[in-house]
C-alpha cells in the first residue's frame, strides 16, 4: 500500500475500500455509491485504476496498491495532480481523488490520448458538480506536459 506492506485480517468479506478507509485510515478514496457506479473510490491496483468498493480485499493481497495519498513521488505531484491543481476542475472536490486516479491510470496506458479517449476512459467517474469539461482539459494538459514549471514546486 503506497509502498508499505500492511498486515490485515481476512476474517470477513470486506471490500478494499472498506479496509482502506475504516482500517487503514486512508480516506482519500471516497464512498460515493458502493456499487461500482461513480468512481469516487478509485485506486491503482498494479498501476491500473480499479473501483475499490467493488474489489474484495482478498483480491488485493500481496499486490501493489496506490491511493491518492501515495500518488505524488518524492514531494512532486503526479502530472495529473499538477494539472488539477492548476485548472481546478472541481467544486466540492469530493470526486477529485477518483478522477485523478482514473486519469493517471489512463495516461500510464495511453500517454497521448485524444479528447474522445479521455471521455471514454473517464465515463465511470461521476462529478455531480459538473466539472467534466475541465477534467478533460486537465488530463489533456497533463498528457501534453504543458504544466507551468514554476507551479511544480508548490
Amino acid at each position: 500500500m503506497n509502498g508499505v506492506a500492511h498486515p490485515i485480517s481476512l476474517d470477513r468479506d470486506r471490500s478494499l475500500l472498506y479496509v482502506l478507509r475504516e482500517e487503514l485510515g486512508l480516506t482519500g478514496a471516497k464512498y460515493g455509491c458502493g456499487e461500482g457506479e461513480c468512481g469516487a473510490c478509485k485506486v491503482l491496483l498494479e498501476g491500473l485504476a480499479v473501483r475499490a468498493c467493488a474489489i474484495p480485499v482478498s483480491e488485493a493481497l500481496g499486490r501493489s496498491i496506490v491511493t491518492i495519498e501515495g500518488l505524488a513521488q518524492g514531494g512532486r505531484l503526479h502530472p495529473v495532480q499538477q494539472a488539477f491543481l492548476e485548472l481546478c476542475p472541481f467544486q466540492c472536490g469530493f470526486c477529485t481523488p477518483g478522477m485523478i486516479m482514473a486519469g493517471a491510470s489512463l495516461l500510464s496506458q495511453n500517454p497521448n490520448p485524444t479528447e474522445e479517449e479521455v471521455r471514454t476512459a473517464m465515463d465511470g467517474n461521476i462529478c455531480r458538480c459538473g466539472g467534466y469539461l475541465r477534467v478533460v482539459e486537465a488530463i489533456l494538459r497533463a498528457a501534453q506536459g504543458t504544466l507551468r514549471p514554476e507551479a511544480r514546486s508548490r
Binding site: 455509491c33 461513480c38 491518492i68 466540492c92 469530493f94 458538480c129 466539472g131 508548490r154
Partner: protein, 736 residues
C-alpha cells in the same frame, strides 16, 4: 451541568462580552452588527443575518468570520478575495472561518444564492471599516494624515517614503484589544477599482483536494469511534408501531437507542453496525400513498392550505379573464417536472462527541445555526451547549439538512459515552432526504394577431414561487402558486421552482412565437422588460450565431434544431442556447450549449465559470432523463445504477459567456444558470422535429417521440383549460 468548555457562543453573547482576544490573540476586531428575524418576517432591508467580524492579529493576518458555509460552490475563495481586496492583503493572509457556531455570526443557512449578496457585502463593509481603523492608527504613528498614506500587502507607509518607514498591520495592532463597530458611513472599494477581487485565482485548498488530504465530514474520526445507523421507515408516511431490540442488545459492542420515532444502533465497525440494524425487528403502519401514474391528478386533488406554506404567491394585474376572452390568439398548455434527487457525491454525514454536557458535532449541513438550535431543543440543552462545526462538504445543492442524522449521532454518542459517526449509504441518501418537488404548471396566454402578449395566466401547482413572475410585458397577468400535499418528501433544491416555472414559461413563449410566426429571439426581446436580461439574451444569440440563419423551424436542416431560453432569478440573468440532433432513430443528442450569465460584478471569475458550467450540466440531467420513480411512498430507483445522472458522455461542448457588470452589486451564481437549460433543449427539439415536449424529463429513454401526444403530460383530472382558439396551427402546436 458543567460549564461549557469554551463559554457562550459568540452569536449568543453580548457584543462586548465576546472573548475575541482570548480566542484569537490581541489585536483589532471590527464588528458588523446583524439583523435578527423580526416577527413580521424579513421586512425591508433584506433577510435577517448575523453580520460579520474581522480580527486583525499581531501576526498581520485577517481572520474573518461569517455564518455561511462552503458547500463546494467556491464561496470560501470568493469571500476571502473580497476581504483581501478591502485590506489589500495577499489571499494567504486572510483566514475565513465559516459556519462554526461557537465563533461565527448567526446565519439562517446557506441557500437561495445569498452568500455573495449577503455575506459578500458584509465582509466588504467590515473589511473596509477595518482598513479605516488601521489607517487611522498608522496615521498617528507615522505622524501623517490618512490621505497621505499608501498601503499594500499588509504594510502602510507615508507616500514617497516606502522603504524607510513602513508599518505592518501586525505592528499597528500589537498589544491592542480594541473592538470597533462598523460605522454606517463605511465605503467598500467599488468593484470598478478592484485589483484583487475579480481576477483569476486558484481555489483555496486546491492542494489538499488534489492530494486527498481534504477531510470531509464522512472522513473524520475520533479515538474510540463508533459507527451509527438509523432505522428508517419502509415507505414515506409509515409510522413506527413497535420495535424489538432484544437481538441487538445481545450483540457484543453494540449500542442502541430507542426514543420515540428514533431507533438507532452503533458498533465499533460499519459492518457490525449494518448487521445490528438488520437485527432490529420493527412493525410499521403504512399510510395510503398514490402510485406514480396518478401523481398529477393526486396533486391536483390535494392542495395544501394554510399560512404555514411559505411559498404561496398570488399576483394579479388587470383583468386576465377579460383579456383572454377578447384575445385573437390564445394558447393553453400544461407543463410538468418530475421529482428529482440532489445526489451530492458525498452522502449526509455527522460525527458527534460529548464532553460532559456539551455536544460537539461535525456536520455536513447547509444550516449550522438552525441545526444547533434544533439539536439543543431536541436534547433539552441550551444552544450554548451545542457546538456545530461544518467541515468541507461533498456538495449540497439544497439537500444537506442533516438534523435527523445529527440527533441520531448525538443520542448514540450520549448512550455509549463514545464519539459516533453516521454516514448515509447511497440508498439512504436517495430515500431519506427530500426531492425537488414534482410540479405542474398550467398556462393560458392571449396575444394580438401581431404576437403582442395581452394576457398571461400562470397557475403553478406544487413547484414553489421562485421565478414565478414573468419577465415579459403583459398588461393583464395572474400568477398563482398552489402548494400540494406531496406523496414524497420534498424541499429545497438548487434553483428549486425556477427550473419548473421557467421551463413552462420559456417553452410557452416559444410556442407563442411559433404560433405567430415570429423569431423566438426577436419575440422575447420585444416583450422583455429588463434591459440586463435582454443584454444577456443578445450576447448569447450573438455567440450562437443566431441571426446567421433563418428563423423558421427546420432551418437547421433535417434532424437538427436550435432553441433558446432566458431566465431571471436571485439577481442573476441567464440565457441558454441549445443545438440538438435528432436522427432517424430519434435518439437525441445535445451537440452544443451556450450559456450567458450576468450577476453583477464578478468576484471570482474561474469559480463563477465553474458554477455556470456545472449548473448547466446538472440541469441537463433534470432536463433529459433524471426522475425519481416511486410507488405508494417507496422510491423504486434509489441507487446510482438506477438513477441516471449526467456523465462525461452526456456533456456537450458548453460555451460560457460571462457579462461582468462592475457597476452592479455581486449576486450569487449557483442557481440561476440552471433555469434556462431545459426549455432551450425543448425548444430545440421542437425546432428539429416539430414535436413539443412539455414534461421533464424530456427524453427519459433517450429518444424523441414521433408526436406530441406520446410526449404530452397525462391529462389533468379536472378543470381542463378551454379549447384553444387559434388563427392558425403550425405543425406541432397542440391544444391542451
Amino acid at each position: 451541568m458543567s460549564a461549557p468548555r469554551s463559554g457562550v457562543p459568540f452569536d449568543l453573547a453580548a457584543p462586548n462580552e465576546r472573548p475575541y482576544f482570548d480566542r484569537f490573540g490581541d489585536g483589532l476586531v471590527v464588528v458588523l452588527p446583524g439583523r435578527r428575524p423580526g416577527r413580521e418576517g424579513w421586512g425591508r432591508g433584506g433577510p435577517p443575518h448575523g453580520g460579520a467580524w474581522i480580527h486583525i492579529g499581531a501576526d498581520g493576518k485577517a481572520r474573518a468570520f461569517i455564518g455561511k458555509v462552503e458547500v463546494g460552490q467556491g464561496t470560501r475563495t470568493a469571500l476571502s478575495l473580497l476581504v483581501s481586496e478591502e485590506l489589500r492583503l495577499p489571499l494567504d493572509a486572510v483566514e475565513l472561518t465559516m459556519g462554526d457556531t461557537d465563533v461565527c455570526p448567526w446565519d439562517m443557512g446557506t441557500f437561495g444564492s445569498r452568500s455573495m449578496p449577503d455575506a459578500g457585502e458584509h465582509l466588504r463593509t467590515t473589511g473596509a471599516a477595518a482598513r479605516a481603523v488601521l489607517l487611522e492608527i498608522a496615521a498617528s504613528r507615522l505622524e501623517a494624515a490618512v490621505p497621505d498614506l499608501d498601503y499594500q500587502d499588509g504594510r502602510v507607509w507615508v507616500k514617497g517614503t516606502e522603504s524607510s518607514r513602513s508599518l505592518g498591520y501586525g505592528e499597528l495592532v500589537r498589544g491592542l484589544r480594541r473592538v470597533e463597530v462598523v460605522p454606517s458611513s463605511t465605503h467598500p472599494v467599488p468593484p470598478t477599482e478592484w485589483t484583487r477581487a475579480g481576477r483569476p485565482t486558484v481555489n483555496l485548498g486546491a492542494l489538499e483536494t488534489v492530494t486527498g488530504a481534504r477531510k470531509y465530514a464522512s472522513d473524520l474520526r475520533l479515538p474510540g469511534l463508533l459507527h451509527g445507523r438509523l432505522l428508517f421507515p419502509p415507505s414515506y408516511g409509515a409510522t413506527l408501531v413497535s420495535v424489538d431490540l432484544s437481538r441487538v442488545r445481545s450483540m457484543r459492542g453494540v449500542v442502541s437507542v430507542h426514543d420515540g420515532d428514533l431507533v438507532a444502533v452503533a458498533a465499533p465497525d460499519p459492518l457490525t453496525a449494518a448487521a445490528a440494524l438488520r437485527a432490529v425487528r420493527a412493525k410499521w403502519r403504512t399510510t395510503d400513498q398514490p402510485a406514480e401514474g396518478e401523481i398529477v391528478s393526486y396533486l391536483r386533488r390535494h392542495p395544501a392550505e394554510g399560512e404555514e406554506f411559505w411559498d404561496v404567491i398570488h399576483h394579479s394585474v388587470g383583468n386576465v379573464a377579460a383579456a383572454l376572452s377578447s384575445a385573437p390568439v390564445t394558447l393553453n398548455a400544461t407543463y410538468s417536472t418530475a421529482y428529482i434527487a440532489h445526489v451530492p457525491m458525498e452522502t449526509h454525514a455527522a460525527l458527534a462527541s460529548w464532553e460532559g454536557d456539551r455536544l460537539t458535532i461535525w456536520l455536513g449541513s447547509q444550516t449550522p445555526f438552525p441545526a444547533r438550535d434544533g439539536l439543543a431543543e431536541a436534547l433539552g440543552l441550551t444552544p450554548s451547549n451545542v457546538h456545530v462545526i461544518i467541515p468541507p462538504i461533498g456538495a449540497g445543492f439544497g439537500g444537506k439538512h442533516a438534523e435527523t442524522l445529527a440527533l441520531g449521532a448525538a443520542r448514540l454518542a450520549k448512550a455509549s459515552g463514545r464519539p459516533v459517526r453516521i454516514v448515509y449509504t447511497r440508498e439512504e441518501e436517495f430515500t431519506q432526504t427530500h426531492f425537488r418537488p414534482m410540479a405542474v404548471v398550467d398556462i393560458r396566454s392571449g396575444a394580438k394577431e401581431n404576437g403582442e402578449l395581452v394576457a398571461w395566466q400562470f397557475q403553478i401547482l406544487n413547484a414553489g414561487s421562485a421565478a414565478a413572475r414573468t419577465p415579459y410585458r403583459a398588461p393583464a397577468q395572474k400568477v398563482d402558486n398552489q402548494p400540494a400535499e406531496s406523496p414524497l418528501p420534498q424541499g429545497p433544491y438548487r434553483a428549486l421552482a425556477a427550473v419548473a416555472n421557467n421551463f413552462a414559461r420559456e417553452s410557452h413563449m416559444d410556442e407563442l412565437a411559433s404560433r405567430c410566426g415570429i423569431d423566438p429571439v426577436g419575440y422575447r426581446l420585444r416583450h422583455l422588460e429588463d434591459d440586463r436580461l435582454s443584454a444577456v439574451l443578445r450576447a448569447v444569440a450573438d455567440r450562437a450565431g443566431w441571426a446567421d440563419r433563418g428563423s423558421p423551424p427546420g432551418s437547421m436542416g433535417p434532424g437538427r434544431g436550435r432553441g433558446i431560453a432566458v431566465g431571471m432569478e436571485k439577481g442573476g440573468r441567464v440565457a441558454t442556447f441549445a443545438e440538438v440532433e435528432v436522427p432517424a432513430n430519434r435518439r437525441l443528442s445535445v451537440v452544443r450549449i451556450v450559456t450567458g450569465f450576468e450577476c453583477g460584478a464578478i468576484v471570482h471569475p474561474s469559480g463563477l465559470r465553474s458554477q455556470v458550467e456545472g449548473g448547466t450540466i446538472m440541469a441537463l440531467g433534470g432536463a433529459l432523463f433524471e426522475a425519481i420513480h416511486f410507488d405508494r411512498g417507496r422510491v423504486l430507483n434509489p441507487r446510482l445504477s438506477q438513477y441516471r445522472v449526467p456523465r462525461f458522455r452526456d456533456t456537450p461542448p458548453i460555451e460560457v459567456v460571462l457579462l461582468d457588470r462592475r457597476d452592479l452589486p455581486s449576486q450569487g451564481g449557483g442557481e440561476a444558470p440552471l433555469m434556462a437549460v431545459a426549455p432551450a433543449i425543448a425548444n430545440a427539439i421542437y425546432d428539429a422535429t416539430g414535436v413539443r415536449l412539455r414534461a421533464l424529463p424530456l427524453v427519459p429513454n433517450g429518444t424523441v417521440p414521433e408526436s406530441d401526444r406520446e410526449g404530452a403530460l397525462r391529462s389533468p383530472s379536472k378543470g381542463p383549460p378551454s379549447q384553444a382558439r387559434a388563427l392558425r396551427r403550425p405543425r406541432g402546436t397542440s391544444r391542451a
